[in-house]
């Protein structure tokens, strides 16, 4: 069975059609997916802007990061759960969609970017935090994240127009 056939099968399972045909379940899941944006992506954007020196300057970034990322973990759990459910109900249509594919690639790159930041820059954050500002590499990660998250939102919104 090819991946496409599997997506088609997934979309037509009893579980998927029950969600898709429910008057309230699909809107509830879709609404939750969108309104979890502030608690997930929004918190990451604050961190990005702080690292780039565009907002929240004057306070130590390390404390800010710890506080915000604690909330964003909850937000991202909601995002992946609701996103997974939405995908199941539309898997066959999403499979060939260019915007959906771009969104997945952006998310993959964001994961790699976050891992790079976590390994290379996060451990030494206390050292450069109170000094002049983030090192160039950390700023690059922040800018990359900012641009890719905008891409994720744009692709996510646009793909729905093509279903």
């Amino acid at each position: 069975m090819s991946l496409f056939e599997w997506c088609q099968w997934l979309q037509h399972t009893h579980f998927a059609t029950a969600i898709a045909e429910s008057d309230w379940l699909f809107p509830l899941i879709e609404g939750s997916h969108i309104l979890a944006l502030p608690m997930s992506v929004g918190m990451v954007l604050i961190l990005d802007l702080r690292l780039l020196g565009l907002a929240f300057c004057g306070g130590p970034a390390a404390k800010l990061v710890n506080n915000l990322l604690r909330w964003s973990r909850i937000g991202f759990v909601v995002m992946f759960l609701t996103g997974g459910l939405l995908l199941i109900t539309q898997a066959g249509k999403a499979y060939g969609n260019a915007f959906f594919r771009a969104k997945l690639i952006f998310l993959l790159l964001l994961g790699i970017n976050a891992a790079v930041y976590q390994i290379l820059f996060y451990p030494k954050m206390a050292q450069w935090d109170s000094a002049r500002g983030a090192p160039a590499g950390a700023k690059f990660c922040a800018g990359f994240s900012l641009v890719l998250w905008i891409g994720v939102i744009v692709c996510g919104r646009t793909m729905a127009y093509q279903f």
Partner: protein, 159 residues
Amino acid sequence: MSLLSVLQSCSNWAPVALIRDSKYGMPAVQSFHLMGLTVLLTTVLVLDLRLTGLGRRDYGLSWLARQLKPWTLGAIAVMISSGSLIFLATPGKYLDSHPFRLKMALLSLALLFHFSVLRRFTAADSSMRPRPADVIVACLSLTFWFGVGWAGRAIAFVP
């Protein structure tokens, strides 16, 4: 001239028609609306969490409010301009929609509450633990703003 005919002529105005009829016009405007939503609700969430005492307490409340303010105002500007474009592109879709009316009512309430009550509650720092009134104000603020979001989403599903 009735309201509807005024809106119809706005809707036929070339820039609006171009956005409505081009392939990626509406997705682009909707994307701006969604990015505005993300920034606006993030600033609201961070401020309200801090007000309830659940959020970061290693920063002063008034400092946080001052830092967030330009982003809140900018996001509101983006939301209102993109929202107006979405409305003007197909006014007929929204005029009779119940969730749209609810959304506008909640939006007025949220804006009023934000720039009167919430502003007062976040203007001064207190080293004390949050008072019950702080928690109530934060919960009301979150209810109004996220209510606007839910009502907006309901436009697509409820007549």
